[in-house]
């Protein structure tokens, strides 16, 4: 009897103690989800380290951004969200917001103003594409080509991708319709401003697929961002699309004979969301982190480590030199005027509607 009581009492005590320590634990620990590799490293240097130093919070990194939407949905259904801040691309943020899986953010209230007093909402401007999304960087999907495989006429237009006469060899394109359909239409004579009007129609979609069909045998389809740089480095392909930061590190850090083709690059955004359903304590911590990590200086700092453009207008003048290579970063930014002569902005609204439909056709076409 006595023994039972002792056991019960000690169990209860341990339970209470562990609960108390869990409470204290929460506030001092957060899990941040991102993409891994050089990108996570840039965030570690620019955001995590200074924040940990400042507050003593322990930040745990999770590299699950690629499956963030599916995993957040599963966590939400299980009623146990273990992530505090998640780095996702804008289209995923829109979907998370649609599904009620991300918290709505009021930029003016929750984010830091620019140093000159401009409100956060104005500073981010049009880049606030969703109520739940706090933009961080502007990146672009664009082409790189082997300088030693294009002869004396390096490509200057995106249509070189469809020109297998002048530029023989394989090309790498992403295994999804987004971006490829736009480029195909553009190179099939559709004016830039009409691209999405055309793509809305069945005929337009067929037209884009027909254009892609002309190079189908010459294409290696990639699904991971690291594929194209590897294929370029191995000389497997003459040109290929990928994220501009990957090409930067291939060219500047690994010194490969590769050139950038900025023409018709497609801008996209990457940023933070805070999952819905966090406890008040964790939510407060996440908001505090976000406010710090998306202020003007921090966004500019990140550009020291990776060639993605900061999402705040006020950060642009503060972009300096690469932390290790010591080269000026501004000319390598996708938003640099020299690079941004002809650009697309990922059409979130359009692809949210047409993604499933066009993807089905695209995949059926691929499988033929």
């Amino acid at each position: 009897m006595k023994l039972t009581k002792t056991i019960l009492a000690s169990t209860a005590l341990t339970a209470v103690a562990s609960m108390a320590s869990a409470e204290a634990h929460m506030a001092n620990e957060m899990t941040i989800v991102s993409w891994g590799g050089a990108y996570s490293n840039s965030q570690q240097q620019a955001y995590h380290n200074p924040y940990m130093e400042m507050t003593g919070v322990e930040i745990i990194n999770d590299e699950s951004s690629a499956e963030a939407v599916a995993k957040l949905r599963a966590m939400n259904e299980a009623g146990n969200v273990t992530w505090d801040v998640v780095d996702v691309v804008a289209s995923d943020a829109i979907r998370l917001c649609d599904e009620g899986l991300a918290m709505e953010i009021d930029p003016d209230e929750m984010l830091a103003d620019a140093p000159d007093g401009t409100s956060a909402e104005d500073d981010f401007g049009d880049l606030l594409v969703s109520d739940c999304f706090i933009p961080q960087i502007v990146y672009s999907t664009t082409f790189g080509y082997r300088t030693d495989m294009v002869g004396d006429t390096p490509p200057t237009s995106v249509c070189a991708v469809f020109d297998t006469e002048t530029y023989p060899g394989k090309r790498a394109l992403e295994k999804r319709p987004i971006n490829n359909m736009e480029w195909a239409l553009l190179c099939d004579g559709v004016a830039k401003e009409d691209v999405y009007d055309v793509l809305e129609t069945e005929e337009g979609q067929q037209q884009a697929l027909d254009k892609l069909d002309t190079i189908k045998d010459d294409v290696i389809w990639w699904s991971a961002g690291a594929d194209t740089p590897q294929l370029l480095a191995d000389g497997e392909i003459v040109m290929g699309s990928t994220y501009n930061g990957r090409l930067f590190s291939l060219i500047e850090e690994q010194d490969q004979p590769v050139g950038m083709l900025w023409d018709a690059q497609v801008f996209d955004l990457d940023g933070w969301i805070i999952p819905a359903g966090l406890s008040d304590e964790r939510k407060a911590r996440a908001l505090d982190y976000i406010k710090f990590a998306t202020d003007t200086q921090r966004l500019a700092d990140q550009a020291k480590y990776i060639s993605y453009g900061p999402a705040r207008k006020s950060s642009a003048p503060l972009v300096g030199k690469h932390a290790e290579l010591g080269i000026e970063m501004a000319p390598h930014m996708p938003t640099d005027p020299e690079n941004a002569k002809n650009t697309f902005l990922y059409n979130y609204e359009f692809w949210a509607d047409y993604r499933d439909d066009i993807d089905a056709k695209f995949q059926a076409w691929l499988a033929q």
Binding site: E67, R95, G100, Q206, K361, Q363, A364
Partner: protein, 567 residues
């Protein structure tokens, strides 16, 4: 070794079952046990106790497997038919749409649009309308943005009524007045006694009975509103003003069939209510159909309404139809357009390539198993390590290594060019196609073939071969007539393992398969993690599971599952 051969020939030890069978076979009069009960019953009882004890022994594992394996799979598969989201988000609309006949060619009537307004209004407060939009967008392109847009604008739609009531009398502006009018006496007393800062739970709103009878629509909407404020927002109901949809419901009630009884009402705010009842006839009204058309012309398109109607039921065959390249249409299931069919091809390809992989594993694994089984134990063990080595290397590393080997500027092509076997400008395409998948997966799955083959071959006495030869058989005859039949159970076990593993393989085809070497599992993964169409993924998974079970059954019929041995 001996137990394998003996099991079929030797006498089996007597078991309790034998006695039961014996007792059963004796037709003439029941055999009695010592205590006088029939032997059969007494034996059965003893057996049952034994079985129960055995069941208790395995119970922990059984429960573990049920909870962590069977239940999640069953839950996932259930999603392939589940479709509650439409009727839960748009309960009033789907209810009214049940009677709508699309074939008549006319859009739904005005009440449907009003129900849609109420549904979308409540859904957007709960932030559920965009989820429904994503769900229906799988079936009809454009619904996603239609719902997002409508959710943003629906708030203004009913404000016409709210403004008019509030202009009429300030009384209608205050949440407090609404509470007094709608709440039951008990609740009002509880709420008055409740101290907001005490940390106690806010007393849950309760409707007053007579008002629910008098103003049924308003009461229903107000209850939803009160519930939302108290439970989901956790705000004090006294400080919140009602939603616009409550005012439009009040307008409906005041102009509805109960309007005459309002004069008899004597509860809180009776004079205000009666004044409002007198004034509503002068109110400006809202044409919801036109208002929705204003938001987006898609609301006057038959397609949208037909889709909502088609997907109103709680369970749908839509996902399964999609999974076999068909679609739901108003006229019943129909094949998709040629340029959208993909799953049939993928299922066939998955089957075909899994068979190819199994075949090449048998071809490569059989000689290795033979050598392993016939070498002296020490050498065999050393070689065994080589077979097992790949198990200790990460799957991704092995697959990526094949990339380096097989690509056009890779090791194999370079060697062939150097040897002069192929010309430099016509290097072989060994990767990003079916060849790549078959090569890489054969390599990865080979140990699963070799191991069962080896353990079966080890049990075949070498003396059988010697005996056959001493009786005059050639090497080939001895192998084919004597050795091979005894190794068939190993081939069976290895084939089942390799085939079932490869049919669900995902990561290797994704990396080396290009476009022609990918499996159905790659599509399932896409729908799970990218398109978030879990229903379709579940349907595809269910079909895959059914196909595998079907093949397993066929295998059992043809080869016999008893002939499969893992050792």
């Amino acid at each position: 070794m001996s137990d394998v051969t003996d099991a079929t020939t030797a006498n089996q030890a007597p078991t309790p079952d034998d006695a039961a069978r014996l007792a059963d076979s004796k037709k003439a009069g029941p055999v009695l046990a010592a205590d006088g009960t029939p032997l059969k019953r007494s034996l059965n009882r003893a057996l049952r106790r034994q079985k129960l004890r055995a069941l208790m022994l395995v119970a922990p594992l059984l429960i573990f497997v049920l909870l962590t394996f069977i239940a999640p799979i069953a839950d996932m598969l259930f999603r392939s038919v589940e479709n509650q989201i439409v009727s839960e988000t748009l309960p009033r609309t789907t209810d009214l749409l049940g009677d709508w006949d699309a074939d008549a060619g006319a859009l739904p009537e005005a009440p449907v649009y009003k129900a849609l307004y109420e549904d979308i209004f409540i859904a957007q407060e709960r932030k559920e309308h965009t989820r429904l939009g994503s769900r229906l967008n799988y079936e009809l392109t454009g619904v996603s943005s239609l719902f997002r847009k409508s959710g943003r604008k629906v708030e203004d739609m009913g404000e016409v009524y709210q403004d008019q009531f509030e202009d009429l009398d300030e009384f209608w502006e205050k949440g407090e007045n609404w509470n007094q009018m709608m709440g039951s006496d008990d609740w009002l007393a509880d709420h008055a006694a409740w101290n907001e800062d005490s940390g106690d739970r806010q007393p849950r709103f309760e409707l007053r009975d007579d008002i629910a009878e008098l103003l049924p629509e308003t009461a229903a909407k107000y209850e939803i509103f009160a519930n939302f404020v108290q439970v989901e927002d956790e705000d004090n109901l006294y400080t919140e003003d009602p939603w616009a949809v409550v005012y439009s419901a009040l307008y409906d009630d005041l102009t509805g069939p109960n309007a005459a009884q309002i004069a008899n009402y004597s509860g809180f705010g009776a004079d205000k209510l009666q004044a409002a009842a007198a004034a509503v006839s002068e109110f400006e009204t809202v044409d919801f159909a036109a208002a929705f058309e204003d938001i987006d012309k898609d609301w006057s398109s038959m397609d949208v309404w037909q889709t909502i109607q088609m997907y109103s039921p709680k369970y749908t065959s839509g996902y399964f139809l999609n999974a076999v390249d068909m679609q739901k249409t108003p006229d019943g299931p129909a094949l998709r357009d040629e340029n959208e069919r993909i799953y049939g091809t993928l299922f066939m390809r998955t089957m075909f390539m899994s068979l190819m992989i199994t075949g090449s594993c048998i071809l490569l694994g059989y000689p290795v198993g033979w050598i392993l089984a016939n070498l002296p134990a020490r050498t065999a063990n050393l070689l065994m390590i080589l077979v097992l080595l790949p198990f200790w290397t990460s799957l991704l590393v092995r697959t990526s290594a094949w990339k380096v080997m097989l690509q056009q500027q890779g090791v194999i092509n370079d060697t062939l060019v150097w040897l002069g076997v192929v010309a430099d400008d016509s290097r072989l395409a060994l990767i990003n196609n079916q060849t790549g998948t078959i090569i890489a997966m054969t390599h990865i799955l080979l140990p699963f073939m070799i191991l069962p083959l080896y353990s079966v071959m080890q049990t075949i006495p070498p003396t059988y071969l010697r005996a056959a030869k001493s009786l005059g058989a050639t090497n080939w005859t001895a192998f084919w007539r004597v050795y091979f039949p005894q190794s068939v159970p190993g081939i069976g076990a290895g084939s089942i393992l390799v085939f079932i593993l490869s049919i669900g393989y995902y990561i290797t085809p994704e990396i080396v398969g290009g476009t022609t070497g990918t499996f159905i599992s790659n599509r399932i993964a896409y729908h799970i993690s990218s398109s978030l169409n879990w229903g379709l993924a579940a349907a595809l998974g269910t079909i895959l599971l059914a196909v595998v079970l079907g093949l397993y059954w066929a295998y059992d019929k043809i080869v016999g599952i008893d002939n499969v041995k893992l050792g």
